[in-house]
Symmetry: C2
Subunit: 457 residues, 2 copies
């Protein structure tokens, strides 16, 4: 990262305004694509696409994917078709497919038609897979060689490809071995290829392929497989076992980070992806955050109505119950959020069995009970000290204690059950189960506590 971002931005800004594109290239020459992307993001809105277009197309197509997803779309709209075509041709197939997916439909169609036929052929099969499937993240550029080819012949094949496009070969970490029908039958590590006797056919030096993925598989599942089997690259095959492409671990880094970010956002009560704290507009920001705020608001309004309709007299007579209401709500909510977090994370990690659900539920209920008892005793004792009404001490203790324990037990149950039920319904366990839980606790936990107060005091 250059020492002074602001200064560099100003320098580029001056060059752009003068139309001095050579200067832009010069300033960014020794920078990494992700650094250039940071600079573009720090530049003024009207100049972003001009900077990108000024770059060499190889650099531009790398910089593009380092830009914030929100930015990309607005930059694309301003770019000329010639630049778009050049960039799409320069990209690897998986990137080109994503790139086309981010263009307006009619523009994407034009760009695809204008592309070099060979490049078009590589990218077209990818367009049919969703972006978050194995097919959507795979590259079709694979090194494949027939099982009866010798090591020497395979090296010759690689050399030919290398001459055509040097960059491609370096990033291919594996030689895949296929039979006559294109079915994947084995793989050869490049190092093994170089040390093998030149005349040995591949089938004598290849390793079996133990793990493959199909293009329809969800990228989260693919990430799980990568983690489980510690692989650096995995082949993608169709149902007949024909090799379609490959996915490398560095693609999966982004998948894992993305999915974790989505879970974090959902647990924090933010729907929708791609919210950027600085680049997203206030309007979109509110739109993405309001649903859960409004949902909770509705819940709390229901609670307010219940309190006014049913428990007004109780509260007026025993104002200490009102003073401790926040405590009852917070304790139940906090224990529930913890349990919910643990359950969502456990499901995401995919490392527990159905047979363990009972253990999980019982364990969380026990922990919730212990935390509830400790909090309940402390809360009730302070409640007794603060009480100014003429309430029976034992009864007041009981109301507060039972209110707190009841809340923690309920939220412990919901914290396990909520995500598990969502998961069983094929919904995302993280999707607002936390926010729902807190609101539910606020209503029912408070109502139970005040009901006890009304009944016993």
């Amino acid at each position: 990262m250059p020492v002074n971002v602001k200064k560099t931005v100003r320098k580029i800004d001056r060059a752009v305004r003068k139309g001095n594109w050579d200067a832009v290239r010069g300033i960014t020459q020794s920078m990494h694509p992700s650094e250039i992307a940071s600079l573009i993001q720090a530049s003024s809105q009207k100049e972003k696409h001009l900077i990108l277009e000024a770059l060499d197309v190889e650099v531009a197509s790398e910089v593009y994917f380092q830009l914030n997803p929100e930015e990309r779309v607005s930059i694309l709209k301003l770019m000329g078709e010639t630049s778009l075509i050049a960039m799409a041709e320069e990209m690897e197939s998986d990137d080109a497919a994503d790139f086309l997916g981010e263009l307006a439909e009619d523009v994407a169609k034009k760009v695809l038609e204008a592309m070099d036929p060979e490049e078009r052929e590589e990218v077209t099969p990818l367009l049919k897979y969703p972006q978050d499937s194995a097919g959507g993240i795979m590259q079709t550029e694979v090194l494949k060689s027939p099982h009866d080819a010798t090591s020497r012949e395979t090296i010759e094949l690689i050399r030919q490809i290398e001459e055509e496009d040097e960059d491609d070969v370096e990033d291919l970490h594996m030689v895949y071995v296929v039979n006559e029908t294109g079915r994947l039958v084995g793989r050869v590590f490049p190092l093994k290829l170089s040390t093998a006797a030149p005349d040995s056919p591949l089938w004598t030096i290849m390793d079996p392929v133990e793990i493959t993925v199909i293009p329809e598989m969800d990228q989260e599942e693919v990430a799980r497989i990568f983690r489980k089997y510690d692989e650096v690259s995995l082949p993608v095959v169709d149902n007949a076992g024909v090799l379609l492409g490959r996915i490398t671990a560095d693609d999966i880094l982004d998948v894992i980070s993305e999915e974790a970010g989505e879970d974090i956002y959902k647990l924090g009560g933010i729907t929708g992806e791609g919210l950027h704290p600085v680049h997203t507009s206030i309007y979109d920001n509110v739109r993405l955050r309001a649903p859960w705020i409004m949902l909770a608001l509705a819940g709390e309004l229901v609670l307010a109505i219940i309190i006014m309709q049913k428990f007004q007299t109780t509260l007026e007579n025993f104002i200490v119950l009102a003073a401790l209401l926040p405590l009852v709500m917070a304790t139940g909510g906090n224990v529930g959020v913890q349990t919910n977090t643990i359950t969502v994370r456990t499901i995401a990690a995919g490392d527990f069995f159905k047979s363990q659900i009972k253990d999980l539920l019982l364990g969380e209920l026990k922990v919730g009970l212990v935390l509830g008892i400790i909090s309940g005793i402390l809360g009730s004792l302070i409640g007794l000290l603060l009480n100014t009404a003429e309430a029976d001490v034992t009864r007041l203790f009981l109301v507060i204690f039972a209110g707190i324990v009841g809340a923690t037990l309920t939220t412990s149950f919901l914290g396990v059950a909520g995500p598990l039920v969502l998961n069983r319904l094929k919904m995302d366990p993280a999707v607002s189960s936390g926010p729902f839980l807190v609101t539910f606790n606020d209503i029912f936990g408070s109502a139970f506590y005040l009901f006890l107060g009304a009944a016993l005091l």
Copy 2:
């Protein structure tokens, strides 16, 4: 994964009780290490180490790292020293270092001393780095070759290593080129090695090494570099540039997942790592979760005292304020948790500049204001409808409205400032900033709201 886990566990259970170790090996033979680990985790406590010891040592050492970290320690305690030594020798250096780190100190010392000298030499330098540093996750097994060696000589070198230990070579994705003093000067992709003319010296075919990491670097920072530069493997060098080891993307998959999990847990108010919902004891579970529950409890107790001391009369006269207290608290808390989540995530992604802090803060305050105004209007209107006391309508509206807007503005500010300050203090931005924020909001948000009530009504 075998179709029926329970059935397989029962089969293994029978074999273990009969001491039929061949049968254990037979049952697990065609299974992947992570599947065997799942089986061990589903087995009874007393049998786990017996199953692990019954496996072939290569399999056992792979299975070991697929076990839940909590489980490992308890299993290790029951294992014989001979098995421990054999496993340590079998592992790659980074795994062996982690393994030794998980043993009791005296046992680790004994095992290290008893290890094969060559293996010991590989693992010893790693023991000095923290587990979560680049040094702690790197492997010392690297393929290095002098810069003046020819491609043919290098292949011959690899062939020799291959004959000694076939497995090692396959996993080495890069040939690192070093000068006379061991300094890293370039890298050669294996495929390039095989296609180069046999007599070309490495320095003529090598690529420059643009990115290296030092062993002291935090693993989170290493993960960020991997993501930024889309690399599959990176070399680790000391301050003088001498090659020490390498890190591959598949190691980073676990790092990213781990770190994201820690952030999720911290945001959910759970301190400490490695909490497993089923395997962690109730005692440890409570111990890891109680701190934040107790902290919040203390905060809510302070609030209860404030309410009883300062606002008792106000509440008794205007019970509607008590009925809406949960709403004020929840709205402020929810908006704050969203902002906090966004800020923590933004810091973790490392993709924004210091110069953007102002934009971030202003943006969040604007969003908080809009959400506060909407919630404030709705909340106040319902408050007016529910009110049973003889309060001035305008004033009551103002109290509720300003209470809600005040709370959302405060928590929006804290949601940005909290994580940023923690980060500046070199502390983890996620560390309970959410829980702190909610408690802070409960106390001061409520106090402000009730103060307005006392002053205006």
